[in-house]
């Protein structure tokens, strides 16, 4: 701090506390709602303090799911989300590290073409070309499958670019030394480049896990079999019950469970997460 200004510091604290309230309040409401019975949602306002039904509500979700809206037990949806998030994050890293290696450490015909083919997809979200992508996946028979959930989302230029930027900062001397010692490209890749990239890979993994877990429209479109529902899209199915009020206490309990894993990942691995975020986008 440059100078001592107690009033300004006080104002800063107030701003941050205001920010915290803004950030926490919607989640607090959801948590409170998930601890009440259905009777609490007959009239406004909804309760602001936790009720007695926490164990009962979460127990019902875990045991049987919400049968009236066709949502499977929560455990299955959580498992599907986990499977999708892991497949997407590991898949993205597995295909982007080698391609970044190829682009940085080799010169070959069509290198620029390959680079641009990948690069053009940098910010091309699936939503933009959703109809033709859906058709491709349907033609390949990948509807209602884990492959269909994950593979179309695996290609993304972001990871390739992160590793490209990182490989460019690796000193050339390392590679020359490896070559003098008789190491081929794959040995250099495995024994030198990969260990150097460990932190970057971990940081990126955190970001990609969150990205994968939070996918919404893609699983919503390609899964019609409740056995493949993921939890984030499952909430929507629970809200859209025909001719009935949503069962708010169960919807909100599901929302809490849906956000818990990625939030825990972010808080527990904050340093890696911040690094991954700031590095990927730079």
């Amino acid at each position: 701090m440059v100078e001592n200004r107690p009033l300004l510091t006080l104002a800063a604290h107030l701003v941050l506390i205001g920010g915290l309230v803004l950030v926490v309040f919607p989640v607090w409401l959801a948590f409170v709602a998930s601890t009440h019975g259905p009777a609490a949602f007959m009239a406004a306002p909804v309760p602001l303090l936790p009720g007695p039904d926490l164990v009962k509500n979460y127990g019902a979700l875990i045991a049987s799911g919400v049968s009236t809206s066709g949502a499977p037990p929560i455990g299955l949806m959580l498992w599907n989300s986990l499977a999708m998030a892991l497949m997407i994050s590991i898949g993205k890293i597995a295909i982007s590290v080698p391609s970044a290696f190829a682009i940085v450490y080799f010169r070959f015909p069509f290198r620029m073409l390959a680079f641009w083919a990948i690069f053009i997809t940098l910010m091309l979200p699936v939503e933009v070309r959703i109809v033709p992508t859906f058709k491709v996946v349907a033609d390949l028979g990948m509807l209602n499958s884990y492959a269909g959930l994950a593979v179309p989302l695996i290609a993304s230029a972001t990871a390739t670019f992160l590793f490209r930027q990182f490989f460019l900062t690796v000193p050339d001397e390392l590679m020359e030394a490896a070559r003098v010692d008789g190491a081929g490209p794959m040995k250099f890749f495995r024994d030198i480049l990969l260990p150097l990239s460990r932190t970057n890979i971990a940081a990126l993994f955190v970001i990609l896990f969150i990205y994968g877990w939070n996918q919404y429209i893609w699983p919503l479109l390609i899964t019609t079999d409740p056995g493949y529902y993921t939890i984030v899209m499952g909430i929507k199915r629970m809200v859209d019950v025909a001719d009935a009020r949503p069962q708010w206490h169960l919807v909100m309990a599901t929302a809490i469970l849906a956000m818990l894993p990625p939030v825990v990942v972010v808080v527990a691995m904050q340093r890696l997460f911040v690094r991954g975020l700031v590095e990927t986008e730079k």
């Binding site: 701003v15 919607p26 409401l29 997809t121 910010m123 979200p125 020359e176 250099f188 990625p262 975020l277």
Partner: protein, 294 residues
């Protein structure tokens, strides 16, 4: 493009290394994108039996369609509001945290986690909070004499989706501004303080100009976020209603393509969006490359 001074000599290996990435990109990105371009020049009859080539008719229809023009307008209002609000709040919180010494880590931890909340879940949370019959906020607003109803009022609906989308994005901008502020040498602020510049003056003549690369970058990223990644927020809350007042472009592509089955028009809309995305990518890429070179 930058390359290494020293490279490996191999003819075949780089293609093998690139193959998985290129295969997935081709099958799930470039091929569908090409299909969208092709489809955008075609028109199917009502029964899907006959397809004819109609040149640019889908595009000309699009830009004469009041619904599409409305959606364009809605997108601009929505994206601008989300971008400005979330960047401004992110900057505000980052400046406040930057003043803290002991408590900055705690505040940071408490402010960053909404990044991990899925946009769809954020939408559901705000939808619950603003529910016209049950919600807390409409209850308070009613006490103040305002009858909140996002099911009927276009303005209320827009406020709802902007609030939910902004809420989720503040933490992202906050983190980048914190990193940006840490990169500014303390000595600059100290020198200015010795010369008698107050905090406001220092902010506008030192901090803010030095943050401008971060701000510019966040403007682009947040525009992309607001235009495309907020699809789940819309889908989980207003579904484009009432009266199309929250029907942003990316949502309209989905509605026209999947629900309306108007493939030609949906494809033309996809192509327009892809052009926007690619333009934004190029803007950002020039910026990335500039940063790397200095």
């Amino acid at each position: 493009m930058q390359t290494k001074r020293a490279i490996f000599a191999s003819r075949v290996l780089p293609y093998w290394l690139l193959a998985p990435q290129l295969a997935v990109t081709l099958v799930f990105f470039l091929w569908p994108a090409a299909q969208a371009v092709r489809q955008s020049f075609l028109r199917e009859d009502a029964f899907g039996l006959k397809t004819s080539f109609v040149w640019l008719e889908n595009y000309t229809r699009l830009f004469h369609d009041p619904n599409y023009l409305n959606s364009l307008k809605v997108t601009v209002v929505f994206a601008a509001s989300v971008t400005l609000l979330s960047v401004a709040l992110g900057l505000l919180f980052a400046l406040a945290v930057d003043r803290m010494i002991a408590s900055s880590r705690l505040y940071t931890t408490l402010l960053v986690w909404p990044y991990a909340v899925a946009p769809a879940v954020a939408g559901v949370l705000w939808w619950f909070m603003f529910n016209p019959t049950l919600g807390v906020i409409p209850y308070v607003l009613e006490g103040l004499g305002y009858d909140w109803n996002h099911l009927l009022s276009p303005t209320d609906a827009m406020i709802l989706v902007v609030a939910a989308s902004t809420w989720k994005q503040i933490s992202y901008n906050f983190l980048f501004f914190v990193a940006g502020l840490q990169a500014i040498p303390r000595a600059l602020g100290e020198a200015a303080a010795i010369d008698g510049a107050g905090p406001v003056k220092r902010f506008f003549s030192i901090t803010f100009p030095l943050l401008s690369p971060t701000t510019f970058f966040l403007m682009v990223v947040n525009t992309v976020y607001a235009m495309f990644d907020t699809f789940p927020v819309i889908h989980a809350t207003t579904e484009g209603n009432p009266a199309q007042s929250t029907n942003i472009l990316v949502y309209k592509v989905y509605v026209d393509g999947f629900l309306g089955l108007n493939l030609g028009s949906s494809a033309a809309q996809s192509v327009v969006l892809m052009a926007i995305v690619i333009a934004l990518t190029v803007i950002q890429f020039r910026y990335i490359e500039r940063r790397v070179e200095y």
